[in-house]
């Protein structure tokens, strides 16, 4: 009984830590330019969250085709520690005239960052050694649960959802 009381008291604290640790989702921040070091620290963080990290670009046809699947993830797993991050590899100079209008037109709600992708040879292997560099590519990662799954392909229909559901089940 005593323990139960203590846990209940700690819940708001846990909630606060979770909110603090989750990256900011702010519409005004959509498409902000990041360096790979920021992505790298995300790949090494220890939050108990399943990050669904998709590398894409507005001009990549299969990437654009599969975007709705990532958007669905936000709704389906709204109450679970799953976070979608869309990392755009559009040309930096195209941010204002291509990327931002695309985000607005498609009304994309997942967080989008624009990677300043200098010397990809230095960082492609840090995402995954299996990645050849072709788009689209997706990494599912939860360091605390030692989950790391990489896919260099376009997902079809419910495939992504099935993988995430499996991973969340295996966590239990």
């Amino acid at each position: 009984m005593l323990y139960k009381v203590h846990y209940t008291l700690l819940l708001p604290l846990f909630a606060w830590i979770f909110i603090q640790s989750a990256p900011n989702i702010n519409a005004q921040n959509q498409g902000r330019v990041v360096s790979f070091s920021e992505i790298d620290s995300l790949l090494h963080n220890s939050h108990d969250t399943l990050y669904v990290i998709n590398f894409w670009a507005t001009w990549c046809k299969p990437c654009v085709e599969e975007l709705p699947l990532f958007e669905e993830i936000n709704e389906i797993y709204a109450h679970q520690p799953v976070k979608v991050l869309l990392i755009s590899l559009d040309f930096i100079q195209d941010k204002e005239k291509v990327l931002l209008p695309f985000i607005k037109k498609k009304n994309i709600l997942s967080e989008i960052v624009l990677l300043k992708a200098e010397n990809p040879n230095e960082w492609i292997d840090k995402v995954d050694s299996e990645w050849s560099g072709a788009l689209p590519a997706t990494l599912l990662i939860n360091n605390q649960k030692k989950i790391r799954k990489f896919f260099e392909k376009q997902f079809k229909h419910e495939e992504l959802q099935d993988i995430i559901t499996q991973l969340l089940k295996s966590e239990l």
Binding site: F55, K61, A117, P120, N121, G133, L135
Partner: protein, 202 residues
Amino acid sequence: MKKLWFFSLLLSCITCVNIFAADGLKVGDIASDFSLKNVDGSMISLKDYSSSKGIILIFTCNHCPFSKAYEDRIIQINSMYAEKGFPVIAINPNDEISVPEDSYDNMKIRAKEKGFVFPYIHDATQQIAKTYGATRTPHVYLLKNNSGVFSIAYIGAIDDNHSDAENVKEKYLANAIESLMQNKSANPDFTKAIGCSIKWKK
């Protein structure tokens, strides 16, 4: 007996994983020859290049922004190195049903627009891209001529900056060619770059 069955299954699994891992050609492998149609209608093969020191084989295409960003640099590399014995062959492996812009007719148009003086050949069956293990455009295979037999000397990127030719720090391909011209191995002999996935036939 059950155990034995399990182990044989495990072993066959390991073997099949290995087969997948061995997909495509690696540095040091013999380059597979081909006979593919150029934009001028002629057929192009490696054996046509027996007097070259090497060949710069670049999987590329019309539609991909990364390929477009590199077109001028590919033209420049050809004009720098063709006369030194390393000519460019550009090869388009994309399925024209998925990407009509990459059809043979559109390749002819693009080659004319950009004034390609090197072959731009059509891998219509995608067999050559599969054999080489190309996955993206652009994807470079630098071949070295060893007395009539071409081997792979370098696989990877043209340089380290696709979006800005002015700010390139590492000219991977040019450095690899320079090394071959000095009878040295390319270092690095394998690099990666972001590119458009090759659009495979469905």
